[in-house]
Point group: C2
């Protein structure tokens, strides 16, 4: 895996990830810990809700997306450090057995004025299921190191 510096990120560059399959047990375990609502916990009770069946917590989908990004080709030296995300949207429910991957595109690269050793990279990250249907979209703002200056 090649570690990337700020100048490796150019607007329009794209990255993808491996995949992860989420099981019903994992959906329920995450929900029990962080988002204990019937539509994330109980397949039978979920039928009569907004989601019309068991669905993963949106925060579970976001966390799985992070797991997909770690170890992918989008690997800044210094780590994948988000200052925050804009426009995190859940587009469709994630169901038991769904297989997810994440496709990213670099939108903008801004060297820091005050700290020349780093900059901000804005990237759109789309999480897709096995049918190529988008389930989540966000725009992340990554703190990325500038390439160390080589001595003359």
């Amino acid at each position: 895996m090649t570690l990337l510096y700020l100048d490796d990120f150019t607007p329009g560059r794209t990255f993808t990830t491996g995949t992860v399959t989420v099981t019903q047990d994992e959906i329920i375990a995450f929900a029990a810990q962080f988002d204990p609502q019937p539509f994330h916990l109980d397949p039978a009770a979920a039928k009569a809700t907004f989601f019309q069946g068991l669905a993963a917590s949106g925060w579970h989908t976001a966390s799985l997306t992070m797991r997909l990004l770690i170890g992918s080709e989008m690997s800044p030296a210094g780590g994948l450090i988000g200052a925050g995300v804009d426009e995190l949207t859940w587009l469709r429910p994630v169901r038991p057995g769904d297989t997810l991957r994440a496709d990213s595109e670099i939108l903008e690269v801004r060297p820091s004025r005050s700290r020349p050793t780093q900059g901000l990279v804005k990237a759109r990250v789309m999480t897709l299921n096995q049918n190529e249907d988008p389930v989540q979209r966000f725009v992340t703002n990554l703190v990325v190191q500038a390439r160390p200056v080589q001595p003359d």
Copy 2:
């Protein structure tokens, strides 16, 4: 706990939550599953990183915030269903032993034109630590049911 309908949400109304204390073991367990990077996994290795010590994954903080909101007074009938969040920002590291709570303020309420039985509630959710320092801020867009019409 009183379940709330769309007309219970008015701009300016505030809510708070109970608290949760996050342990080092929990920070590491979450990171191992979803965000396996040295600054979230290994207190010694974390010292030389951007975070200068072990810090919770931002997605862990977001998930803990969800946990705080569930069961709080901000409880729409039909559940706490986010269509997405705007401007999710991590303001400070969350450290082992930190005790978090979340304060919310309703910003905007919009009945749905196409679906009169529901609407969107925009709320700012601020997560604070035991020193009252904000660690995370987001604006969430909740899908909230309108109060059922009573027969005449």
